[in-house]
Amino acid sequence: MSANETPPRAPADFEKVAIGAQATVATFKEETPSLLKRIQHLLHVHPTAIPALVLVLSVAVFAMAGGQRFLTAFNLSVVLQQVTIIAVIGIAQTIVVLTAGIDLSVGAIAVLASMVMGKLAVTAGVPTPLAILIGVAVGAACGAVNGILVTRFRLPPFIVTLGTWYMVFALNLWYSDSETIRSQDIGETAPLLQFFATAIPIGDARLTYGSIAMVIAIALFWYLLSMTAWGRHVHAVGDDPEAARLAGIRVERVLMSVYIVAGIVCAFAAWMMISRYGSASPQSGQTSNLDSITAVVIGGTSLFGGRGSIVGTLLGALIVGVFRNGLALSGVNVLWQDFAVGALIIVAVALDQWLRRVSQ
C-alpha cells in the first residue's frame, strides 16, 4: 500500500478535498508588516486604546479651546456626574451588545423601575429598601421578558426590545398616572432614594456617591467579563453561537442571564436617576437608550458581538460628556454637539470595521 497510489477509478473524489482545503501549509514566518498594519494589530489586541486616546486628546483640545473654565476640578467632576447614569445603563447595553444583540428597552426599564421605587416608597408608604428591591425585581422581570422572547421565540433582539421599549414605556405612564413624584416628597419620606446625590467635596470638585458607585459597577463588570467563566461565555456566544454550542456552552442560558442582568443594572441606574434629578419623572431618561448605544459604540465594542470592553463603554460615555461640556463651554450651539457625537459614532464604527479586517 504505497502512499502515492492513485485510485484508478475515481481520482476526482479522492482529490476533491484538496480543492476545499486550504492549500497553505501553516507558515510561521511573517514578512515585516507595514507600520499601519502593526498599528492595526496593536489596536486589535488593545481595543480600548482608541477611546482612551480620543478621550485624552479631546480633553487636551478643550483645555486649550475652552481655557480656564473647562479644565477645572469642579467642571470635570460635573462631567463625571453627567455621564454616570449613561455609563451604568451602558454596562447593561455592553453585555447585551457583546452577545451580538442590542437592547433598545434599557432606558424605558430604568424609568419604569424608578417610578416603581418612587411611587411605592413615597405614595404607598412601603419601606424604602423594600421599594428599591421591588424596583430591582421589576427590572429583572423586564429583562427576563426580553430574554425569553430572544431565546425561546428566537426573535431578533432589535425587534424584541423595540417592542418591549414601547410596552414598558406605556406601563410606566399607566403606573405613574403620568405624574412626577416631587423631589421634596422624596426627600421627606424616602431620602434613601437620593442617596447617590451625596457628594464628597475634594477641593473644588464634588465627587458624588453616584460617581463612585458607577466606577465600582464598571470594575465589577470588568471583573465578571474578563475574569470569570460567565464572561468568557458571553463573549463566545456573541462571537459565534454555533461554535459556542458545539463547545458545550448553554447558549440560551447565557443569553437569558445577560438580559436579566441588564434589567437589574437598569434598575440600579433608576435609583441613581432619582438621586441625580431628585424627583422621579415618567418622562425622564428618554434619550438614555440611544445614549447608551452611543457610549458602547464609541467605546469600541463591536455591534457584531464577541468583542469589546466595559472600560471602553465608560471611556465612550466620558468622551460624549467631554464633547458636550467642552463645546458648550466654548459657546458652540447645542446642535453642533449632536453633530459632533454623530460623527464620533461613525468614526468609531469605521474603526471597528477596519480592526475586524485583521483576521481576514
Binding site: P7, P8, V17, Q22, H41, H235, D240, A247, R250
Partner: protein, 269 residues
C-alpha cells in the same frame, strides 16, 4: 436493514453504537437509516464522498443534532444527547469539521471553553475567578505535544491564527479532554505535511492510551496508515465496513463512489 455486520472479528461489544439513524433537512436526507459501531481501543476511519453524511453522522452521535429516528448506545446503554455537553460529560470529545472555536477568544480560553478551571479558595468558589496561569500552562503543554508551539502567544485570539494552527487548537482540545472516545472530523484538512504527521502520531498515541478514535478523512493514505477498520459511508448510510489490510486503496475508493460493489462479507446494509 440493520442486520449485524459481519466484519473483522472482534470479541468485544461496541463502546459507541448507532442503529437506523435518520436525519432529514427539509427534502435533503442527510442520514438514511445509518448504522455505526465503534469498538473499544480501535481507530475507525469513516470515509465517503462529499455530502455522504459523515459529518451529520458524527453530529448525531455527539448530540450536536438530534436524529429524527434511530437509537444510540454507549457502553451498550441507550443514550439520548440533548446537546454536545451531554456527550462531553460522558467523555466523548469531538473535533467538528467547522472546529467550534470562538475567534475572538484566546487560545487558552478556547481550550477550556465551557469547563474553565477556577482558582483554589474563596476567590474561585465565591467569585468564580478563572485560574488563568493554569489555563495558560496546560494550553501550552497541549499545543507543544502537537508540535504547535510555533504559536508564540497563548493569549493570542484564535482569529489571528492560520487555518492549520486553528485546527491544531481544536485537536489539542479534544485530545486533552477526551476520556472515553475521541472523534475527529477531517482533522488534517488544513494541515501541512509535517503537522498532519503530528496529528497521525497523536491519533496513535491516543489509541495507545486505550481510547478508541473515529477519524473522518478524505486522505486515503492517512486512513490506510492508521485505521483498524474503515466504515464506508455512502448516500447517508453505512455502505460497508472493510479491513484496510485486506483491501486496496483504489478498491476502497471504488466502493465509496459506488463504482464497485462491496465485497460480500463487508456489506453493511
Amino acid at each position: 436493514m440493520s442486520t449485524p455486520v459481519p466484519q473483522v472479528p472482534v470479541s468485544q461489544a461496541p463502546i459507541l453504537e448507532a442503529r437506523g439513524l435518520v436525519k432529514r433537512y427539509g427534502r435533503v436526507t442527510a442520514l438514511d437509516h445509518a448504522d455505526f459501531d465503534l469498538m473499544p481501543g480501535e481507530i475507525l476511519a469513516v470515509i465517503g464522498d462529499n455530502g455522504a453524511g459523515k459529518s451529520s453522522l458524527i453530529k448525531a452521535l455527539t448530540g450536536a443534532i438530534r436524529p429524527d429516528h434511530g437509537t444510540i448506545l454507549f457502553d451498550g446503554q441507550p443514550v439520548s444527547f440533548d446537546s454536545p455537553i451531554d456527550a462531553r460529560r460522558i467523555g466523548i470529545e469531538t473535533v467538528y469539521q467547522n472546529l467550534a472555536l470562538s475567534p475572538a477568544l484566546s487560545i487558552a480560553d478556547n481550550l477550556f471553553l465551557g469547563r474553565e478551571p477556577r482558582v483554589a479558595g474563596p476567590l474561585g468558589t465565591l467569585l468564580g475567578m478563572l485560574d488563568r496561569p493554569r489555563m495558560r500552562r496546560e494550553a501550552r503543554a497541549a499545543l507543544s505535544s502537537l508540535g504547535l508551539m510555533t504559536i508564540q502567544n497563548i493569549d493570542q485570539p484564535v482569529e489571528t491564527l492560520s487555518g492549520g494552527q486553528r485546527q491544531g487548537v481544536a485537536i489539542a482540545r479534544a485530545a486533552a479532554f477526551g476520556s472515553r472516545v475521541v472523534i475527529m472530523d477531517e482533522p488534517t484538512a488544513a494541515l501541512g505535511v509535517k503537522e498532519s504527521r503530528k496529528v497521525l502520531e497523536l491519533i496513535l498515541d491516543v489509541r495507545a492510551k486505550g481510547l478508541p478514535i473515529v477519524l473522518i478523512s478524505h486522505n486515503m493514505p492517512h486512513v490506510f496508515e492508521v485505521a483498524d477498520r474503515i466504515h464506508i459511508h455512502r448516500l447517508g448510510r453505512r455502505h460497508a465496513v472493510v479491513d484496510p489490510r485486506a483491501i486496496t486503496m483504489s478498491d476502497a475508493v471504488a466502493i465509496m463512489t459506488g463504482a464497485m460493489a462491496p465485497p460480500g462479507e463487508a456489506r453493511a446494509a
